[in-house]
Point group: C2
Chain length 228, copies 2
């Protein structure tokens, strides 16, 4: 049973992750044999800044946040790893340490491939290397967007965008915030207090409705988009 579960997870990784798309069955099977998997409970760290980074990490199931820590101790969240996402830098450079942290936000299954295996894989399977380049390109575009927004838009505007994106992503009118407000704050580069205030403010202005503690409904998407 344990064995079965293990195999299941390894294949999941290969099936789930876009970078392994359009590879042949054979190739996918080969990859599955190179993969090891780990399970993390809520709050556990997948890696920490300073750790030696020697493998690519793929989220097979669950959710984890990746963040950096400023010298001041303030966190900046860089991204949320969802099912199918991977963390890249790790596997790319020789002799480099992580400069960020990854922490599980729920029970999370993770697959790893060592740098060596992964580099060999890219050499042997150009298809996959191209997929990888594409995935990294998207990540760069997303990061550029984040950088620009964080410096040019007000917190209210960033929060409004975040709500719109979250709602669109979940594709339902009434949606539950997938993160604690504390985490939303570090994602948007602000503080929990400010998030709390802005949510109240948006509610009072009739753009959103608070359904429960962490469930909201978008009432006026147009106006939300125009903030700032």
């Amino acid at each position: 049973m344990v064995k079965l579960l293990h195999d299941h997870t390894a294949e999941d990784c290969v099936e789930l992750v876009p970078i392994f798309d359009n590879l042949s069955k054979d190739e996918k099977n080969t990859i599955a044999t190179l993969v090891t998997h780990h399970h993390y409970k809520t709050g556990e760290y997948l890696f920490s800044a300073g750790d030696t980074s020697d493998s690519l990490i793929i989220v097979a199931h669950g959710q984890a946040k990746v963040f950096q820590m400023a010298t001041s101790g303030k966190e900046q969240m860089l991204r949320i790893l969802q099912t199918g996402d991977f963390d890249g830098e790790a596997a790319l450079f020789t002799n480099s340490d992580h400069n960020s942290f990854a922490q599980a936000l729920m029970k999370t299954d993770v697959c790893q491939i060592s740098r060596g295996d992964f580099q060999r894989l890219m050499q042997k399977t150009p298809e996959m290397a191209v997929n990888m380049v594409n995935a990294l390109g998207k990540r760069i575009a997303q990061l550029e967007q984040q950088t620009t927004e964080v410096t040019t838009a007000s917190v209210e505007s960033r929060l409004a965008n975040y709500l719109l994106e979250t709602s669109a992503g979940l594709n339902q009118e009434v949606f539950k915030l997938p993160l604690k407000k504390k985490d939303i704050a570090t994602y948007l580069g602000t503080t929990p207090e400010t998030i709390s205030r802005k949510l109240t403010s948006l509610t009072k202005q009739g753009m959103i409705e608070k359904i429960s503690n962490n469930e909201f409904k978008i009432l006026d998407a147009d106006r939300l988009m125009m903030i700032d």
Copy 2:
């Protein structure tokens, strides 16, 4: 003569750019035939947001800034392309438009490879795809750093870091700022006025010395590093 100059530039690109490192002479020659080149004067745009993006751009000589424009009209600089740097997103996705601008800061020579050619190149030359993955990985790390700094550190601290990096990069005690202060401002996510004030303040505190209008000398690197 014009012809010679042309060929020279095409080969320059292939020689200069890290992503073409450790390829064979043959492969480099092939690449050189795929490349077209362009020249831009100071202030000209290499591309603008909304342009169709269908080629990879490599800077053979010169300097250009890449920036996004917020709805408010405020610029956020994303990076400076130096000799040997390339702008990636362009070549990676089908049917995507640029969401940023690139503007020459001096006379600048640029080489281009079309998306199709570049994708084929990666398929044929896994070496190169791996190089590309590495280059993108570094860019991601740099962007993550920029995002974190911009949200967690004060302008004074960001400016201090910028001065230290610039001085280190140029490797000389007295160094000339390679950007106009206006541009430094959009790079650091602030305004020219604030840059001006902070430079004065750092000078008064004895950490730097103003040599001429845009030349400075680092007097106390340790203290600069500790700001914030």
